[in-house]
């Protein structure tokens, strides 16, 4: 029997598309409050830090401070939109309202549920990322037509961060444990992934450690596309992103399977 031994990869089937549809129908009802939640923080950061702190720190790596942090915050917005949904919401779907349990009474495999969630998170990341881009436009932060390529990394970023968050949701015993993921993983990543200051300012050991985490590479890529500046190491960032996305993809399947059929 699958799901007990070995990896359970997501399945992108017709059933997965229906799980995606369910998420969309639900989002349509809640997007007003959820948009506020997801933009409030990065927007505050952008305005307070970009224009407040930016009055003192005028240049960062040769760019105006807002130009530097804007693209990074776009990546963070996409990550958060996905991470909140796949941790708190998915936890509730699994443990509180039984949405996943009702799904598997129909001929849906847990791997199709995971597949559907990934598809939806890819779209969420795209959606929230693009709206943030629209916010950056009038601020004059978008400098390059390369920004038109952003949908691609945004879709991938959604998949990338969905896996670990869903895994956390299947492992957590209560809501409090979900907060640990934010305090111990998401927030430190947010602070140290080159969103606010270049990694070059950090000791080599710490910098190498940070380069082992995923967000920094997404930040590098979005910044490159928005500012139109392509450092020679960008191909490495792309490799990291693709590698992590594939690596994390199989993370939650087995555990979700087990949780739904124990």
């Amino acid at each position: 029997m699958d799901g007990v031994n070995g990896m359970v990869w997501p399945r992108f089937t017709k059933g997965a598309l229906m799980v995606f549809r369910r998420d969309f129908l639900s989002w349509v009802k809640y997007y007003k409050s959820s948009v506020l939640l997801n933009f409030g923080e990065p927007l505050t950061n952008l305005l307070a830090l970009g224009f407040g702190l930016g009055a003192y720190v005028t240049k960062m790596s040769g760019d105006p401070f807002v130009d530097f942090i804007g693209p990074g915050l776009l990546a963070v917005t996409a990550m958060n939109a996905v991470t909140f949904d796949m941790s708190f919401e998915a936890y509730d779907r699994l443990n509180e309202n039984g949405i996943y349990l009702s799904m598997i009474t129909a001929p849906l495999h847990p791997a199709e549920i995971v597949g559907g969630e990934y598809l939806w998170e890819a779209c969420r990341s795209l959606l929230y990322g693009l709206v943030f881009l629209v916010v950056l436009l009038p601020l004059g932060i978008v400098h390059s037509w390369w920004a038109l390529l952003l949908p691609l990394p945004l879709l991938v970023t959604g998949m990338l961060f969905a896996g670990p968050a869903l895994w956390v949701a299947t492992a957590a015993k209560n809501h409090e444990q979900l907060f640990y993921y934010f305090t111990l993983v998401v927030t430190p990543m947010f602070m140290f992934s080159g969103v606010f200051f270049p990694l070059a300012h950090l000791p080599v050991v710490i910098r190498d450690l940070i380069l082992l985490t995923p967000l920094v590479h997404v930040v590098n890529l979005t910044r490159a596309l928005i500012l139109g500046q392509f450092p020679p190491t960008l191909w490495q960032d792309i490799l990291w992103i693709v590698g992590y996305t594939i690596l994390f993809m199989a993370l939650p399947g087995r555990r979700l399977s087990r949780r739904l059929t124990d």
């Binding site: 799901g3 017709k14 369910r22 129908l25 309202n97 799904m103 009474t105 849906l108 059929t261």
Partner: protein, 326 residues
Amino acid sequence: MTTNAPTTIANPSVPATPAVAVSARGLTKQFGNFEAVAGMDFDVYEGECFGLLGPNGAGKSTTIRMICCLTARTAGSLTVLGEPAAPGQRTIKGQLGVVSQEDYLDPALTVRENIEIHGRFYGQSPEVAALRATELLEFMQLDGKTNEQVRSLSGGMRRRLVIARALMGRPRLLVLDEPTTGLDPQARILVWRKVRELKAEGVTVLLTTHYMDEAQRLCDRLVVIDHGRILESGRPRELILRLVGRECLECPDIAPAVVDGLTATLRPEDQAWHEWQSDSWVLFSPNLSAILDRWDTAGIAPSLAYRRPAGLEDVFLRLTGRELRD
């Protein structure tokens, strides 16, 4: 599964062995060291309504979850609609409709969306799912609530919606885990009507309920289980006659001392058996008329006593005892 080999000339008066929808042999489920289902053998025939009765914690839902391919069995064999049941078994699941004990409705979706999306999980086209949803909402008398959020429904309406959801996939086997808990009498009658209608269409129904009148009305055959084991099985009528007899005498609010006086007059040939059901003392015997005459003659007949047909509830209490389960 045993079938009669056709070695002799078929006797037309003996009906052929009916096709089996569910067959369990030595079915066992353990949670750690605890045996929730402890070796059950039973068959559910196609087209019948089969009841699974038992006190709280008897193992009904666990058995049902194994049949619905929602959890794995620990031991034994379990065949559902000709396939071995196991989690992730699509062929079986595609032919099932499941009303789980918990509602598990989607609070973010409207009434209609809740069941339409379920139809889509079964692979239905948007048109088919929409049509079917309209039909079922109407039948369950929820058509006035179509676009409301689920959280605005009452408990009974929610339950009706869950039943509608289970019927979205046009099941061949309908599994109902306490479908009518929380329903008002009108809604229960509605559900009974639907179950009969489905049975007439050839759908097999597996039902658990704590309402003995419901089981007596709907079930062709049933098993009474406790502690994960089958205590008795048979047709409701046959179980009643065999285990408690045709009728009984119920004496509400009677003093134990008076009961002692009454039981002293019972004779072995009365084949009497009696018990307390809450504050009522109930006497079962095929010889009730003679016993009542005897009490009249002795002038000890209780002032308040109802003679009533014995029912499944009496069978249930006799088999499973009167202690409350936690």
